[in-house]
């Protein structure tokens, strides 16, 4: 569990570093917060799933990486997120997770691990590194020129800037790559803690919580949900492996569910403030 947590954290580290500056400016004691956060960052279901998906789109997968994700320690916080959903949505998301777990068996079991990995490595390159597959950039899906760094990329950057953050230098992908956008959501999910499970509301003050939730809601609505479902549809149409099919279905479904959760949270804030 710890190793996986570190791994996910490292995906989000670039965002978290820039977030630190933001929160410090807002007068939050980061050191104290980090100590307190150790528990809730690792236990944050949304963050875990966003981080997992970000990693899947960023790079090749290994059996280890995927099987670690399905450990109980990770599934448990995910369950607590899913229980916030209406029964039909919750069931659907569970099915997606289960399908992905099953496809993993297909991808890795019954073969030598190396062979299974090689198939998925080929598929990763086929899908994400060559034009046979998909172009995982918002610019390509929403831009006119179908080139990188088109207007949508400018808008994503403007969004990040509007909340005072920018991409870490170490991040090679442009700001509108699917892995970076999912990583952004992962970071904010971690930072907003398990607020959505209504358990530890005291950890960040109300204003900060509302801000963090609103940012995630807006980013989903204005960016990810405008193009990622299309990307997922293309992956489903083009992939030759159930694993990436499962990833695409899960991503599409999760983004929809997460928007629902965020909207619910915003409603709660409104009620409280009123």
């Amino acid at each position: 569990m710890y190793a996986l947590g570190v791994c996910f954290f490292s995906v989000a580290i670039s965002w978290i570093n820039t977030m630190k500056n933001l929160l410090e400016r807002g007068g939050i004691d980061i050191k104290k917060q980090e100590e307190e956060n150790q528990q809730w960052i690792q236990g944050k279901g949304r963050g875990i799933l966003y981080s997992f998906l970000s990693q899947i789109f960023r790079d090749e997968v290994s059996w280890q990486k995927v099987s670690d994700f399905f450990q109980e320690e990770n599934i448990k916080p995910l369950k607590s997120v899913i229980t916030q959903l209406p029964p039909e949505k919750a069931q659907h998301l569970w099915e997606c997770l289960n399908n992905l777990r099953e496809s993993m068996g297909g991808a890795f079991k019954g073969k030598e691990e190396e062979s299974g990995s090689l198939d998925l490595r080929r598929e990763f390159a086929y899908l994400f590194l060559t034009p046979h597959g998909v172009y995982p950039f918002e610019s390509i899906y929403l831009g006119k020129t179908k080139l990188l760094m088109d207007k949508p990329w400018e808008e994503v950057r403007a969004f990040y800037r509007s909340i005072g953050i920018k991409k870490d230098k170490k991040e090679m992908h442009p700001e509108d790559h699917i892995a970076v956008e999912l990583g952004f959501m992962a970071s904010f999910s971690y930072l907003s803690g398990d607020f959505l499970s209504y358990e530890s509301e005291e950890k960040i003050d109300e204003e900060e919580k509302e801000f963090l939730i609103q940012v995630q809601h807006d980013f989903l609505e204005q960016h990810l949900l405008k193009w990622a479902p299309g990307l997922c549809d293309d992956i489903m149409a083009k992939t030759r492996y159930p694993f990436y099919y499962g990833v695409a279905v899960l991503t599409k479904r999760f983004l929809e569910c997460d928007l629902f959760l965020l909207k619910e949270s915003i409603k709660m804030f409104t009620v409280k403030i009123d």
Binding site: R121, F124, L129, L147, L148, M149, W153, M172
Partner: protein, 742 residues
Amino acid sequence: MASSAAVAAGAAGNFLLSGCQPKEEKPVADDKPQRPLPAEPEVTATKFNVCNVCSANCAMFCDIVDGKVWRIRGNPDDQVCRGHLCVKGYSSYKMLYDPDRLKYPMKRTNPEKGPGVDPGWVKISWEEAFQLAGEKFNEAKEKYGPESIVFYTRPHDFAVRLAKAIGTPNLVRHHDTCYGSHEAVWRATVTGKGRPWMLDLYNAKYILSFGWDQPSKGKNMSAQGYIHALNNGAKAVVFNPMLTATAALASEWIPIKPGTDLAVCLAMINVIISEELYDKDFVEKYTEGIDQLKAAVQQYTPAWAEEISEVPAATIERVAREFATTKPAIVPNHKRDAGGPLYANSWRTSFAFVILNALVGSIDREGGVIFQRTPSLKPFDEVFPPLEFPKARKETIMGKEKFPVIGPTGKLGSVTMAEAILNEKPYPVKAMFVRKQNVLAVPDAPRFVEALKKLDFVAVADILPTEIVQMADVVFPEPHFLETSGMTERIYFAFYPQIALKDPVGDPLYETKGYGSIIIGIAKAMGLGEHFEGVSGGKLDDERLKALGSSMDELKASPNGLWSDQKPFKPKEEFGTASKKIEFYSTMLKEGGYDPMPTWQPKRDLPSNDYPFYLLVTRYAAHRMTESQNNELVMQVAPVNYATLNKAIAQQLGVKDGDEVMVESRVNKIKLKARVIEGIRPDCVSVEHGFGHWAKDLTRAFGVGANEGDLVPGFTVEEMIALKDPGATGCMSDVCVKVYKA
């Protein structure tokens, strides 16, 4: 329907060949309200760079808005571009943002190779990529000798050193499809080294050209110079079987029969000498062999040339007289003109160009062909002294040792490479390293694909997933030139030495490495790292600038991104041949076993009943060879290539504009849409070069048009020797074809 042979012959007879005066067109006033230009955003940074689309290397300003290239402008202080770029340069940043670009090192997992075969790419680390290349190259070296490894790259100090460290003599060059004939001729008759690049069209008053089409091709410095000269009252006479843009702008267009330019040039030389119209001072002082030349060309009368070229004798005489008596006059040459590597007789035509220019005193004189004044850059080996290299085998797959004029320059081999590999002559080739070359650039591309399949290992460094990348076992992704740093000297137009700075426009978009780093990585993986101890591109540039009394820091601080040494232009008083003069009778050619003077020889392939049309190859101004067909903006300007036919012929063949036609030679056939025009000889079909990509990974280029190079036969080294061409060039248009409705 009439046979295409009969149609071609019949229509040619009716064609107006006495010379055409293009109609002067007045600009029509446009009453439509102009759409206002969008407001200019605030430029956040401007970076200097050097266009790397073609070898003109125009210096440019890159205006950055918020981390992204918004616009590219020409650097007004650059001698080559004078503040203006061509469409290729302006649109070059589109490739920077092309999502099809190679993003990471990759290795092939599918051993099967060929068009339509998925290579089964897998992403690998740079370390693994180098290790793989190192292992495979070493394996070939140990089992089959170092000569079994071939470098198919453009000239680059780092790559040459690696080849020497490995011990392979096989550095295949593309110049035999590019300008090898000019190189060999200038070397043998004027320079003792290479050819000049600079055409001072700006100061020319009479421009006489044969197949020269740089303005149509959008070659910046020549297009600008040509227009400037015409606006300045210069006369331009264009001999070309097709009404190209160069011809349309000219004072006179003469639709000469393809491959007969040599006959017209020889007759003009005869007229100029026999009528004593030549520049006697220049000829006496700077040339050798005028008497031998006079005797040799007496047989080439204008009437004789008319028989061969279909250009009226009176036109030949008149143009020759005008050319010789209007100063300054120039016969421009660059690459694929009538003296380029197009026909079996092209080197002789190139020789005639040298003579014509010398006869009017236009070699290294204002308004003529000029030797670019380049900075004396410290040689690579002086900056980084080499260790001892293993002794390489003398025999090469290019037959370098069998071509005494061009061989020592190493500028040959791409035309004969496929046959050398397939026939294992003179020995087997097992591995290849490729950079900035493509399958589609050589004659008979399908045959080259077969040759690549035969190799055990192919490593390719590139930017886009081109056809040759599809044949690779490992791929090294390179940055786009706008992501690179360094410096480039001015060559294509340099009255004085000038160097331009390259400063990256931003962080690289993908996990790429520069070419120098790739070479060093392979060397280290092969256990040859000691040959590159302390070597880096940055250090090389800095040391070279320091030797010139500057430094990279100083260049970076310069307000225009240029280092210039504005010495006044001093014309050359002596040349690089053994006699120190321009040799009309070349001793180097004689000693090499070639004709020492440009005697008449027809082109190799002549129209027959089976293949009645001459093949012409043209180039779009917007495109650069086979490298630009995935550029989003360029493809809007020039989206496809055509088989261009004369209207009368098309009618007889039953072909309408836009119909699909087959163009077939004795080696291959291609399918293209027909474009029917009046401005082409009826015995010709013209195809634009650069299309016919079969790599599906080039999403914009894939499946668009066809590759005319497929129609051109390749050569064995023995066949090339038999051609007796000192440039060993590829006869890239010396093929006849048939055309029929698809």
